[in-house]
């Protein structure tokens, strides 16, 4: 419960830093809350944090695409601040610390971990955006096809 509150504010305050409009700030916070809830639940259920990060990011992407239509703003306003709680800040720090102390194998380990989290976030959001765009294109394609057949 405490973590959920932290995840909300963890998206709320970065949104202020990006100069987001005041009425959208709360929705940006909810975006982080949604992503963190999915991430935590799936980590608990499957025990695979990278997979959970992927689905958390996908949930954020879905939420922001839906809310962007309702609030009439670009979707990235919500998704950028929403993905902040999923960013692997502490693992990234451990990479630097292990490099300077000379534990290169641990650093490599942590580095790959960081990269896989970052990749999971990126592809999670990309997956949703791409499928929503594909669905729109698909509808348009069939509408055009129908029109053409009537003309013939």
């Amino acid at each position: 419960m405490k973590e959920l509150l932290l995840a909300f504010f963890g998206s709320f305050f970065p949104a202020i830093l990006f100069n987001t409009e005041k009425k959208i700030l709360g929705w940006a916070g909810v975006s982080g809350l949604v992503g963190w809830t999915i991430y935590k639940a799936l980590t608990y259920l499957t025990g695979m944090p990278v997979l959970a990060t992927f689905f958390g990011a996908a949930a954020i992407g879905f939420y922001s695409e839906m809310m962007a239509r309702r609030l009439k703003t670009p979707a990235s306003v919500l998704s950028i601040s929403g993905m902040y709680p999923l960013v692997p800040g502490i693992t990234a720090y451990l990479v630097v610390e292990n490099i300077v102390t000379g534990n290169l194998s641990t650093a490599l380990n942590k580095g790959i971990e960081t990269l896989s989290y970052a990749g999971a976030i990126a592809f999670g959001i990309m997956f949703v955006t791409a499928s929503i765009q594909f669905q729109a294109k698909y509808k348009e394609f069939f509408r055009r096809k129908k029109k053409n057949t009537y003309k013939l």
């Binding site: 305050f13 970065p14 502490i90 720090y93 102390t101």
Partner: protein
């Protein structure tokens, strides 16, 4: 309609969008919509570091304009304002004088004041050091460090020095202050403090814009933005690492 004037209007809109960290396709579409609604067929080619617009209007004269983008920040509110401006210009016909006035008003729209940004930076840092399972004391120490980082960053970018130097300095500041706090009060978890306070430097917008550019086929800017994000991480990391080495000896 004067082709030159219309293209200048479109160029200004594109410039504001690219400086605020917009995706390529949004900026290109906006410029195309603006010039089309004043009867000019424009071809746009935008990159994160520079934009090109070329078009010809009713007077059958072709004109090309180019603008170099030097400073890039993140300003989602400005992107939103231009977005609704282009929607308005597309729907209802407004005179070009009015459109120019509106666009200049958007470009001079004041940024949120520094003190509220500092407070937001401080709260971000303390929230994240708590989320990384740090203690309350870690959160309280991370907050002022993050505010100092934000202040240094905005100060250096106001002078106009290049971006990665200010990130390097931010890493140095985070490392130095956290190690100093550890010297004063040994119970501090140094990793939680540092990881929390550098969260405000995460290149979030570069990564998400890179993804969207790749989806739309703007490969040049997508790769450029991924490179930008990597350089940000490396610059902060080198600054931090330097301080940790000095702190260890």
């Amino acid at each position: 309609m004067d082709t030159d004037r219309v293209l200048r209007l479109a160029l200004l809109a594109g410039e504001i969008l690219m400086q605020s960290g917009s995706e390529i396709y949004r900026a290109e579409d906006t410029a195309r919509i603006i010039s089309k609604s004043y009867g000019v067929n424009a071809e746009c080619f935008f990159m994160p570091t520079g934009i090109f617009i070329s078009g010809y209007g009713e007077d059958k004269k072709a004109i090309s304009l180019m603008k170099r983008i030097t400073n890039r920040t993140v300003d989602l509110h400005r992107i939103e304002m231009i977005n609704s401006f282009s929607r308005k210009i597309n729907k209802e016909s407004i005179s070009i004088e009015e459109a120019e006035r509106e666009l200049h008003r958007i470009s001079e729209y004041p940024y949120r004041n520094l003190s509220s940004m500092l407070i937001a930076a401080a709260f971000t840092a303390s929230v994240y050091s708590l989320l990384f399972k740090g203690t309350i004391i870690d959160a309280l120490i991370a907050a002022p460090i993050s505010a100092v980082i934000y202040l240094a960053n905005s100060g250096i970018s106001k002078i106009g020095f290049f971006q990665f130097f200010s990130l390097f300095v931010s890493g140095v500041i985070a490392g130095a202050l956290a190690i100093f706090a550890k010297e004063v009060y040994p119970l501090v978890n140094i990793d939680k403090v540092i990881a929390g306070s550098i969260m405000i430097l995460v290149p979030g917008i570069a990564i998400t814009s890179a993804i969207k550019d790749a989806l739309k086929g703007d490969l040049v800017s997508s790769v450029a933005r991924i490179g930008e994000a990597l350089l940000v991480v490396v610059a902060v990391g080198v600054g931090l690492g330097l301080m940790i080495i000095i702190g260890l000896h």
